[in-house]
């Protein structure tokens, strides 16, 4: 237990020293703020730079606050996921490659503590980034467009965070089983987008899919109501996360850690 805390503290210190704790939230804030700002100024932007013929009457409906936030979530689903995966890809593989993972495990540290401290570090940075970015987005949306009920904001961000936790757990898993940072990122992104795509094509048959979290997030934002199929998706997602974590620990145990 003590070792777990020591390892977790090391993860956080490392993220502070290499400024990840700063720049990942900043990216999420930028992604979150850009959407309401650009929606607000879109008519003017088009007016000034659109090259529309003189006298054209712009009739663009201003999106509702909920729609803006849904767009933000969709940005997080693309660029946010990409940033998270790229920043987390080396979490285990880089330490295995340098041999420092062996230096840690040569001490009487449970293998589960090592993996779980990594996981906790990833969750911390992911949740901090998502919450701060989303709150910033909400603030600018209410400033420029309209206020969205805080309850919906809260519910939607909690639901969406489950999807991001799923994504970083997968990154941790591939980082444990593979050595090259690049291939970890590639495979993780591939798997995440494959799940998303298959889920959106075969939506009817995949109500259990973790990728459904994105839809449920949108649903809560727009209607304030949770779809009844949420529970199934929630349970399978948590179950998959647990299974993936346990497999990561087991696989890590089998790996040769010192060259």
């Amino acid at each position: 237990m003590i070792q777990w805390i020591v390892l977790y503290r090391k993860e956080m210190t490392e993220m502070a020293r290499n400024y990840k704790i700063l720049w990942i939230p900043i990216v999420f804030i930028l992604l979150g703020v850009m959407q309401p700002v650009s929606s607000y100024y879109m008519p003017e932007i088009l007016d000034n730079f659109g090259g529309l013929p003189e006298g054209t009457i712009l009739d663009m409906p201003t999106p509702t606050g909920e729609e803006v936030l849904m767009q933000v979530i969709s940005n997080y689903g693309m660029l946010g996921v990409l940033i998270l995966v790229l920043s987390a890809m080396g979490v285990v593989s880089a330490e295995r490659q340098s041999g420092v993972a062996g230096m840690v495990m040569i001490k009487p540290v449970p293998y589960s503590s090592y993996i779980l401290s990594k996981w906790a570090g990833l969750l911390t940075i992911t949740l901090i980034s998502l919450f701060i970015g989303y709150v910033a987005s909400w603030y600018y949306t209410s400033l420029l467009i309209e206020t969205v009920a805080f309850e919906r904001i809260f519910q939607s961000v909690v639901i969406y965070s489950i999807w991001l936790v799923f994504v970083v757990t997968l990154t941790l898993f591939f980082s444990t089983i593979m050595k090259g940072n690049g291939s970890v990122a590639f495979v993780t992104i591939f798997v995440v987008f494959a799940i998303s795509t298959v889920t959106s094509i075969l939506g009817k048959y995949m109500t259990w899919s973790p990728a459904k979290m994105t839809e449920h997030t949108g649903q809560v934002l727009l209607s304030g109501e949770l779809d009844s199929s949420f529970l199934l998706a929630f349970i399978t997602t948590i179950a998959i996360i647990i299974v993936v974590l346990i497999s990561s620990i087991q696989i890590f145990k089998q790996k040769e850690l010192l060259e």
Partner: protein, 301 residues
């Protein structure tokens, strides 16, 4: 007292038999060197003892009991130690100490002691990324000692160091061996001869020779005749192999070492030969085989 015993230890990597069923034990308080050429299986053996590598088969006993997780009792310095380069030397030691279940205060205190001991006190606040190879090796030694292990395992602790660095680390090991049992691998025979009590010579995954340094030297020591010529004398050297008292002739350029079964008669006859044939010699010396000769013999066999 027997600290550690390995029985029929085997490690296979796919088709490679890295370690082929070795047996040995380590007495408490001894300094044991594990000798062997590249690829002999030294690192593989040490990793199995330290618990970093699961043996394919065989068992390891610690203090007479079957070992489960020995990591608490073992300090290990890998052949290529790695660190978090963004940490300072002291931070890493405190970190390693806490991982080995020291509380923060103990870890700090022990780190300071060890930094002093390995001569890194002045560099303790610097980032490890800026350390030289020798400094990293000494830091590696310090992290291995942080939790006062019962057995210190060092994988080629001096191979990568310059003569000065080697001297420093060897001197530290000499100090440490007063307190802790040490098992270290090396292919620098001179170092093994200098500080170890017991030796294990490994070759191709097997232990060829083991025992105390003294008894091994005693047992395998052979009288040897070393002759240095001014020019080559290959013909004569070929012919002497037929003498019954000559057991081996090793030629290295103008130098030759001849292992004799009967030194008293042998040297007389050979010296007479040299005089009769008017061979130009520079040196004619009687000595004993060294650890290096023994090593070469094992490795070439």
């Amino acid at each position: 007292m027997e600290l550690l015993k390995a029985s029929d230890l085997v490690k296979r990597f796919g088709n490679t038999n890295a370690v082929k069923g070795i047996n040995f034990h380590i007495e408490e308080g001894r300094c044991v060197s594990l000798l062997g050429p590249n690829g002999a299986g030294k690192t593989t053996t040490l990793k199995m003892l330290s618990g970093l590598l699961e043996p394919t088969s065989g068992s390891i006993d610690f203090k007479g009991e079957k070992a489960k997780d020995l990591r608490q009792f073992i300090g290990y310095l890998p052949q290529y130690p790695a660190f978090y380069n963004w940490m300072s030397g002291k931070e890493f030691l405190v970190f390693a100490g806490q991982l080995a279940k020291l509380n923060r205060k103990e870890a700090e205190k022990r780190s300071e002691e060890l930094l002093e001991r390995v001569g890194l006190t002045n560099a303790q606040k610097r980032k490890i990324g800026g350390y030289s190879g020798g400094m990293k090796q000494r830091l590696g030694l310090a992290q291995a000692l942080i939790h006062r292990p019962k057995l210190l395992i060092l994988d080629e602790p001096v191979s990568a160091l310059d003569p000065l660095g080697r001297r420093e680390v060897l001197d530290m090991m000499r100090e440490i061996k007063e307190e802790t049992t040490i098992l270290f691998s090396t292919h620098v025979l001179h170092d093994a001869e200098e500080i170890s009590d017991d030796i294990l010579i490994m070759h191709a995954g097997e232990i060829a020779i083991s025992g105390s340094l003294g008894s091994v030297m005693e047992e395998y020591r052979q009288p040897i005749l070393q002759i240095e010529f001014e020019s080559q004398a290959a013909d004569w050297l070929k012919s002497i192999a037929s003498y019954s008292f000559v057991s081996e002739v090793n030629i290295q350029g103008n130098k030759t070492s001849i292992v004799l079964k009967d030194m008293v008669n042998g040297k007389q006859i050979l010296l007479k030969d040299i005089v009769d044939r008017n061979l130009p010699i520079r040196k004619f010396e009687i000595s004993q085989t060294t650890l290096e000769d023994l090593f070469m013999k094992v490795v070439k066999a």
